[in-house]
């Protein structure tokens, strides 16, 4: 029974996938797991994965909250680009690009703008009541245009030591970018799981109408998850631009919305809204990042990565699909509805309404 319960835990398959990936990597290159200390900083493939995953981690975290309320945020990549554009344009124009004060204002400005963009998405979804896909698609289109408008179509490059710290800095041997991601995940995790916020979000995601009737301020909750998602995408944008010390409106965060949604889905959060798992998202992000890294390791051209992502998505989605689960749980409950398609009706009714 315990074995069955473990098998049926929703994080079981994602964890298996992650362990499998790490195992394959370690087998093909034993040094994969080794960590060395140079100049007081930890080095190693696993540290690289943690550092490189931080942007996706932030974006996917916001996406988890949005998806929990039965929404989706396609604009995160564009918002990410806007954050970098705003911050770096400010730093470039300032007389003292290297001062901590300038950088603080730049970051605050970048985050403020992305918070506003996120709130705009939230406004469209919760007040105007446009479908989330289309509401955020608007900004996905326009956002990159806005970013290019800010950078005037150039790739703005700056030299600013404090700003570079976000991506390349090290605290206690660990990359600053990773620590930022950890702190943010912890704060959001505490916020949604130690207060009623998470439950309210799930309620909105499971049945917006019922939760409204039950007195949940669904409008405010939906509004704020999009704002948070924008803000987190903005943080990822700061990390991105700090990594290359340039604001690249065209390529910053390109397709990151796709990776983030994937990470969330791999982590077991259903796109139909409702129950969500932040731990699942974290594992999903690590799976995607490890996959990307290991493909480079195994000497496969990185361009082919999408095939592997496709395989992972298909396998994990099939594992989570009701039909396959029904096959796996071979007639354990004879009372279960045996009409084929009933499950499909339930699921689709839940999705489409």
């Amino acid at each position: 029974m315990i074995a069955l319960r473990i098998l049926r835990h929703r994080l079981f398959w994602p964890i298996v996938a992650l362990v499998l990936l790490v195992a394959i990597n370690t087998l093909s290159r034993p040094s994969f797991l080794s960590i060395t200390i140079k100049h007081g900083a930890l080095y190693g493939s696993s540290i690289d994965i943690l550092r490189n995953s931080s942007q996706l981690m932030l974006v996917a975290l916001g996406m988890t909250l949005v998806i929990a309320t039965r929404g989706i945020d396609l604009s995160v990549g564009a918002v990410l680009a806007v954050a970098g554009a705003v911050s770096l344009t400010y730093i470039e124009a300032s007389p003292e690009p290297g001062s901590v004060g300038t950088v603080t204002v730049a970051v605050a400005l970048g985050l403020l703008v992305t918070l506003v963009l996120g709130a705009w998405n939230g406004f469209l979804v919760s007040v105007v009541r446009i479908q989330p896909i289309i509401a955020t698609l608007l900004l996905m289109f326009a956002g990159r245009g806005i970013a290019m408008l800010i950078t005037k179509g150039q790739i703005t490059t700056v030299t600013s030591a404090p700003y570079a710290e976000f991506a390349s800095g090290v605290i206690l041997g660990l990359p600053v970018a990773f620590l930022i991601a950890v702190v943010v995940v912890a704060i959001v995790g505490l916020l949604v799981r130690r207060t009623a916020l998470g439950v309210l979000m799930e309620a909105v995601g499971i049945n917006p109408e019922a939760s409204r009737l039950a007195g949940v301020q669904s409008r405010g909750i939906i509004w704020s998850v999009y704002a948070i998602s924008g803000l987190l995408a903005g943080m990822a944008g700061i990390l991105y631009s700090s990594n290359i010390m340039a604001a690249d409106a065209n390529n910053a965060g390109l397709n990151i919305e796709v990776d983030a949604i994937l990470a969330v889905v791999i982590g077991g959060t259903s796109l139909a809204g409702g129950k969500f798992s932040i731990a699942g998202t974290v594992i999903g992000v690590l799976i995607i990042q490890t996959l990307t890294t290991s493909i480079t390791f195994l000497g496969i051209p990185p361009a082919v990565t999408p095939v592997f992502k496709a395989v992972v998505v298909i396998v994990i989605c099939l594992m989570q699909s009701r039909r396959v689960r029904g096959l796996l749980a071979v007639r354990r409950r004879p009372v279960a509805p045996s009409v084929p398609g009933t499950a499909a009706i339930d699921a689709s009714a839940a999705v489409s309404k």
Binding site: L138, P301, V313, A344
Partner: protein
């Protein structure tokens, strides 16, 4: 919460429906036409010599592949689904063609195979959505990765294509005076016509509207929901394959980066054309107008010689206006 149940009027000649009802259903399409005309008028007023046979011809000539994609996307969106894989299919199909042509295969074999490569991806997505109840968004995302990855497996860099049959599609120009068109454009318009016929004069077409209107009702009515959903993705994939052929003809090459983001352009065109994303309401003719509006925005931006990123912003604002407009209509309809 928004899905208005079965609001589309699948049968145009339905006698039992009031004129007002039909007007409501066609309103978004009419609005798109009005916008198109207004934009042309504004262009004429601002630039002077704007509206010309050449401009109107180039609206079609620049985007035959987008028209084909929009046709396939209309099928999918009308069922309440979405197909993100089509842009990547263009890359895959194009590179497959480039490799096969390079290997000396005849066009009679290569062109069908290019189309079939799209059908294949569509089938994969369709199986996932229809039989395994995976959300269309995620399933087609997997299809998108699969096609893009396969494109890179086929070739890591762009390959030129030298083939007379393929070049003929968009390279030939037929015309009277300044009015010109190409075989590829006629093919795309033929597909629009076929799609129109399928939607309004076949059982399958009406089932598509029924599924989009209310899947559960459609199932309870005994309609073949699973098969229909599978088929719309198959159609969308096939259309993407055809678009791949047209795009390869347009660029005379196969490129692993071809069609990047084109799925979004197709979705935007369909939405601008008045089809509602929750499904069940919209017309394929609207999608054609949507593509024309899209093309006109691109051309106007070039005409104004402002930077190309304004295209993104204008399209974004345009989408916003349309979506808000649709919300208003949906709200009016509910009363």
């Amino acid at each position: 919460m928004t899905a208005p149940a079965a609001t589309g009027a699948p049968r145009l000649g339905g006698r039992g429906r009031s004129v007002r009802y039909r007007l409501n259903a066609w309103l978004p399409v009419l609005a798109t036409c009005v916008i198109l005309v207004l934009m042309l008028g504004a262009g004429q007023a601002v630039f002077g010599d704007f509206v010309s046979p050449r401009l109107l011809s180039s609206l079609f000539d620049n985007n035959p592949f987008l028209i084909v994609l929009a046709v396939g996307m209309t099928f999918v969106i009308l069922t309440g689904g979405i197909d993100l894989s089509v842009g990547s299919v263009i890359a895959f199909s194009g590179l497959l063609g480039a490799q096969l042509f390079a290997a000396g295969w005849p066009a009679a074999a290569v062109l069908p195979l290019m189309v079939l490569s799209g059908t294949l991806i569509g089938a994969v997505v369709g199986v996932m959505v229809a039989f395994f109840d995976i959300q269309p968004f995620i399933a087609s995302l997997a299809g998108m990765f699969l096609a893009r990855g396969l494109a890179y497996v086929t070739s890591l860099k762009a390959l030129p294509i030298h083939n007379d049959a393929l070049n003929w599609l968009l390279g030939t120009s037929w015309g009277v005076g300044d009015w010109t068109t190409t075989p590829g454009v006629l093919l795309s318009l033929l597909l629009v016509a076929i799609a129109f016929w399928v939607f309004h004069y076949t059982r399958f077409g009406r089932t598509v509207y029924a599924v989009g209107g209310n899947e559960q009702s459609a199932r309870l009515m005994g309609l073949a929901v699973t098969r229909t959903v599978f088929l719309v993705y198959l159609i969308s994939g096939t259309c993407a394959g055809i678009a791949g052929v047209l795009f390869a003809s347009y660029t005379q090459s196969g490129n692993p980066l071809a069609g990047l983001g084109m799925e979004l352009q197709a979705i935007a065109a369909v939405v601008i054309g008045g089809t509602i994303l929750t499904g069940g309401s919209g017309y394929v003719i609207g999608s054609l107008f949507g593509v024309l509006v899209y093309g006109l925005i691109q051309i106007s931006i070039t005409y104004m010689s402002v930077d190309s990123w304004w295209t993104y912003i204008v399209i974004g604002v345009m989408l916003l206006l349309f979506v808000v407009f649709q919300r208003a209509i949906a709200a009016r309809r509910r009363r």
